[in-house]
Symmetry: C2
Subunit: 283 residues, 2 copies
DNA sequence: TCGGATTACGTGCACCGTAATGATC
DNA sequence: GATCATTACGGTGCACGTAATCCGA
């Protein structure tokens, strides 16, 4: 067995051309490198250099050895990287969600149940979210539909109902309930990261215009200080202590009534047992 | 960069199951191995083991690391082997010859011209001998025909004429010359390693029988003390000081008059310049 | 004379082994 | 008590750096 730092030094010499510059690059003295290369030759039992007193150069053996050494060093580096990456992945629980609403509570739940783990979350309107569980892109998914396939395990965790938030002067503000199609053609303030709701709105209100807001606080300001209709939900209203003169009119479309399911691969059910037990205890 | 002996020790632990037995196998003390594994974890920045006080076992990271480490060790070993093999090949000049006759002189010529090189020789009747030069099986070939292709460089180095060696009482012993077909059907003493001559004899004398001898000296004894015809050449006779009452009758077939060519790939002509110069000077 | 390689030489420390400790069965 | 891992500790080999030497442009 030959230590890898000898090969590293060989490669450095090949790149630099002289022992002195290679030694400098490696932050060791020139004699140390000279002896290392002698030792490498000795341990291989093979001459790697042409020695012309004041000039050291690779011979054919040396050139071959350098090619091999480069490849070996690449492999070791990549190996180390992959072990670290594997460990990192093992220390993070990755969550994909169809809605941003549940994320804060869900993250703090996971953090308390899985101490030391990193929780990474992503909100997406992608209807193929459950597929990503199979590909291990996510370990857990928050879906608004229970997936069919038997490879998944799901548990309902929350219900949410959609409301349209109207200023009192709005012509529809005194309605008891509205269908989305009744609102088509209007201009809405809309949060940009709302997951699957986005698709629903665009489908049911094809001619509506949406003023997308990246910042949740900015959106709140605009809602309070404009006459544009916006959307909210019972879940949001319950948690927001904010006073508002807006009127919330329930949306009557069936799709506006949503149950969220916490889902994982059935094979990982045991790993997330604590999560599911938490939600079962909640009901 | 992580030294490879740490991975070697990791693999040993994986194979043995405990630090103590692995340490024994590695011929180091148990504490040394314990510290090595701690250092490996530290340098990787990744926990590789489950530590249950009195039991050390690989965790998932560790199992992955062991798989990678095995592959890395394999690669290093194979790399070292290949470098050594490459060097060994570089230090030997491999000669393929259609005849054993020229070998001794040729080997001593090469030895004196290429000091320190190992000369390996092989006698073969294979008509595709020149092909082997292309595949680098041989560096030099001694052929009895000049190959056509332009990728070869050839120089005639010797001529040889075939004789049949008959006891004086043999009915054909007083002939001035003979064709091989005249000798068909008889039983010959024949050296087994005669390269291309073998094919020639069997072709021209399909019903002859050959008493093959592996040992050249034994063959000589038998020739002296039997009445079986045998073959010899002017080249052999010139060099053998041995008295004999045998009569040498020249073979008249055209193929029995041979010129030997020293051949190499044209791309290697420079490497063997000294050889060719030697033969050019000789004429 | 300078730059580069090798040799000589003294030194420090990294790693080892022995011994002790802790822990589990 | 036996086995196994870790910690403590003292000794040493070996690889390093400095300095000297040699060599060639």
């Amino acid at each position: 067995m030959i230590e890898i730092h000898l090969f590293e030094q060989l490669v450095a010499f090949a790149s630099c051309g002289t022992l002195s510059s290679a030694a400098e690059q490696l932050h060791i003295s020139q004699p140390a490198l000279s002896r290392s290369m002698q030792r490498l030759e000795e341990e291989l039992g093979v001459k790697l250099f042409d020695r012309q007193k004041s000039r050291l150069s690779l011979n054919k053996n040396g050139e071959l050895a350098v090619r091999y050494a480069r490849s070996l060093l690449m492999q070791e580096n990549s190996m180390i990287e992959q072990i670290r990456e594997f460990d990192r992945k093992r220390r993070t629980i990755s969550v994909g969600s169809c809605t941003p609403i549940l994320i804060p509570d869900f993250v703090s739940l996971l953090s308390s149940l899985y101490e030391g783990m990193t929780i990474s979350t992503e909100v997406t309107g992608d209807p193929g979210l459950a597929e990503h569980l199979k590909q291990n892109k996510y370990h857990l998914a928050l879906l608004h539909e229970k997936p069919d396939e038997d490879i998944y395990y799901s548990l309902p965790v929350e219900r949410e109902h959609l409301y349209v938030s109207l200023p009192p002067v709005h012509p529809l503000a005194d309605a008891d309930g509205l269908y989305l199609k009744d609102l088509d053609g209007q201009t809405f303030l809309l949060y940009s990261q709302i997951g699957f709701w986005d698709g629903l709105c665009r489908q049911k209100m094809p001619t509506a215009r949406f003023l997308l807001q990246q910042d949740y606080n900015v959106l709140g300001e605009l809602v309070e200080n404009s006459a544009f209709p916006a959307f909210t939900t019972d879940y949001v209203m319950k948690r927001s202590r904010q006073e508002s003169d807006r009127i919330a009119v329930p949306i009557l479309d069936e799709e506006a009534n949503v149950t969220y399911y916490c889902t994982c691969l059935r094979s990982e059910k045991a790993r997330f047992k604590a999560v599911f037990e938490h939600f079962q205890a909640e009901r």
